[in-house]
């Protein structure tokens, strides 16, 4: 009954607040269970991870992380005994399962690819986006609305539909499976978000600052550099983080257009297998490492989230 107290002259009653609070906290807790489970699984041993019933209390182990970063081969116990003493925790754990470390896995290079491609494309998209946003914000551009809609409309295309001709084009240009090709593609996808978001941020900076600077003898370019850019840093930072998250999370293009040297982490993580199927602790370990930067960014961004996810259509 008290739940239906929408707004009123008085604030919502204490009772209705309490009920709302309980429901929201319950939802929040349930909705992060899968994430906590990823984290917990990454510290389980493979047998613990597939135990029935699922284990909530377990002896933590970093075997998943060992398996994530290494490739292993099965050996006879005699062979393993003939080796010298184990050279570290991972070595020891692996030997207990009658295996030896054969070398590093592909996770680290894939993770580095993700970093290079995400940061490279974010830099390009924010750079181009800032210039265009300033152009659209301050000058009378003919057909501005149409151009802005054109920029946005490139986002309506299903990624697989775009991937077909891109695949052919990159094959011709020798850009298949290269970091440069992926950076170009992600820049093109992200620049639409960057232009729309940054236009909103730059629109909010009063023109008077630049005009004052120009009266002081600055050229338009200098005024842009010395007055607009410093004022827009928050907006640029928020936009950059959104671009970074998109490029970091992207899967469809990466899965279709990269296969080896330029492959990023999202298409790689599902392919982590151990003996007899998916090595879930290793997958969970890779997923945890992959998700941590996003968690940090989400907390940093929480005030700008709304703007980012609606292309600047909704501001507070």
């Amino acid at each position: 009954m008290s739940l239906t107290t929408a707004h009123s002259v008085v604030a919502p009653s204490a009772n209705s607040k309490r009920i709302a609070g309980v429901i929201i906290v319950a939802y929040a807790l349930i909705s992060i269970v899968p994430l906590l489970w990823i984290f917990a699984t990454s510290f389980k041993t493979p047998p613990d991870s597939i135990a029935y019933p699922p284990k909530i209390v377990f002896q933590p182990s970093i075997e998943g992380y060992c398996n994530l970063f290494t490739t292993r081969t099965r050996q006879t116990p005699e062979y393993i005994n003939s080796l010298g003493p184990a050279t570290g925790f991972c070595d020891e754990t692996v030997r207990k399962r009658n295996m030896v470390i054969a070398g590093p896995s592909n996770f680290l290079p894939r993770f580095v690819n993700s970093l290079i491609i995400a940061f490279g494309s974010t830099f390009c998209a924010v750079f181009l986006g800032t210039l265009s946003a300033y152009g659209f914000s301050r000058f009378k551009v003919p057909l501005a609305d149409d151009l802005l809609f054109f920029i946005l409309s490139t986002r309506f295309m299903p990624p697989i539909a775009v991937a077909i001709p891109i695949y052919l084009m990159y094959r011709e240009l020798g850009l298949s499976d290269t970091a440069l090709g992926m950076i170009l593609l992600y820049t093109a996808v992200n620049v639409s978000l960057a232009v729309w978001l940054l236009k909103g941020f730059i629109d909010e900076i009063p023109r008077e600052y630049e005009e004052a600077a120009m009266i002081d003898g600055y050229t338009r370019l200098q005024a842009f550099w010395r007055t607009v850019l410093p004022q827009a840093t928050t907006g640029i930072a928020a936009t950059a983080i959104f671009c970074l998250i998109f490029a970091w999370n992207e899967y469809a293009f990466a899965a279709l257009l990269t296969s080896g040297t330029a492959q990023t982490a999202p298409p790689f993580i599902p392919t982590i297998i151990g003996e007899g199927g998916q090595d879930w602790p290793a997958v969970a370990a890779g997923t945890t490492i992959f998700l941590v930067p996003i968690l940090v960014f989400t907390i940093l961004l929480r005030k700008q989230l709304l703007r980012g996810i609606t292309f600047g259509a909704v501001r507070k």
Partner: protein, 315 residues
């Protein structure tokens, strides 16, 4: 104030000098700033689009680049519109889009409406709720395969614990009836926060004085909800539905990793069909035609929807 000063200075300065002060003319600068973006989009988006349009009229196969390409006219389009599998894929997509949007809107709006009560700690819990939507659908979707595993998966275990169904029988991903719902559940888990956040902005945009006036008129809480809260938040709800609708129409990554379109083709949404045709059967011309049809469909629907949205906004 400053504006006027600027005008005065502009008038006082002789023309050539004014130009020198400003360096490049504003018009030149505007194009200098905008053209790199436009050129990039022309190269990476528009040129490939036209290439795809060209390919859609041919029998080109990307795995046989040396074969002679034949012009087929509209044959690919005709075949797609008569292809039973394509229509089934469109139905699967429609089912997926309908249920995810319905669930996300109802749950998302309810959550926003509760958070708007501003109980103690609401900001912290809102941030917690928002986390799933920021994560990679592919990487997290992949992990849901583990949660859905019969017996050892946490989700299946909880379901069998609650319902009493034997744990080996909870086969979310391999059961023909359940598989479409397993992708709907993950999508709803991920994107309800998105709808919630936009709805929350809508609820917060309603000025307090409207409720005060309603209170003076002794409108019931129920009445206030239906004639103030809901209609005033409606443009925001519709915006959320628009964004989610487009995104889910294009849905690929999560479904590809969770079910890959299976079992059989029960979860084969349009993007999965497209991928199978283009990158597994290598029917490049045919799949290009399908891609164009999908693009036109999204574009058309989005346009109609935006017009409706503007109408609601004007009211």
């Amino acid at each position: 104030m400053l504006n006027r000063t600027a005008d005065n200075v502009a008038r006082a300065t002789p023309e050539p000098l004014a130009k020198k002060i400003r360096g490049i003319s504003d018009k030149g600068l505007a194009w200098l700033f905008i053209s790199p973006t436009i050129l990039l989009l022309l190269a990476i988006n528009i040129f490939p689009l036209f290439w795809a349009i060209y390919l859609s009229f041919t029998n080109y196969r990307a795995n046989r680049p040396n074969e002679v390409v034949k012009n087929l006219g509209f044959a690919n389009y005709q075949r797609i519109l008569g292809d039973q599998d394509i229509w089934i894929a469109m139905q699967t997509t429609a089912h997926f889009v309908f249920w995810t949007i319905l669930l996300q809107t109802v749950i998302g709006f309810t959550l926003a409406w509760l958070i708007d009560r501003k109980f103690r700690g609401h900001a912290f819990w809102t941030t917690i709720i928002l986390v799933p939507m920021m994560l990679s659908p592919a990487v997290v979707g992949n992990f849901w395969r583990f949660l859905y595993e019969p017996q050892i998966g946490l989700f299946s275990y909880v379901i069998s614990f609650v319902t009493g169904i034997p744990p080996t029988n909870v086969q979310m991903l391999s059961n023909v009836e359940l598989a479409p719902w397993s992708i709907i559940i993950v999508d709803t888990w991920m994107w309800t926060p998105y709808v919630m956040l936009i709805c929350l902005a809508g609820l917060r945009s309603i000025p307090e004085y409207i409720y005060e006036a309603a209170e003076v008129d002794r409108a019931s809480n129920w009445r206030q909800f239906w004639s103030i809260t809901l209609p005033m938040a409606l443009p925001f709800i519709m915006l959320a539905v628009l964004f989610r609708g487009i995104e889910n129409f294009k849905m690929f990554d999560m479904v590809n990793l969770l079910t890959g379109g299976g079992p059989g083709s029960t979860t084969e949404v349009a993007s999965i069909t497209l991928k199978r045709q283009a990158f597994e059967s290598w029917r490049t011309g045919y799949s290009s035609a399908f891609a164009i049809i999908l693009f036109v469909a999204v574009f058309g629907l989005a346009n109609i929807y935006v017009k409706a949205l503007n109408k609601v906004k004007q009211r």
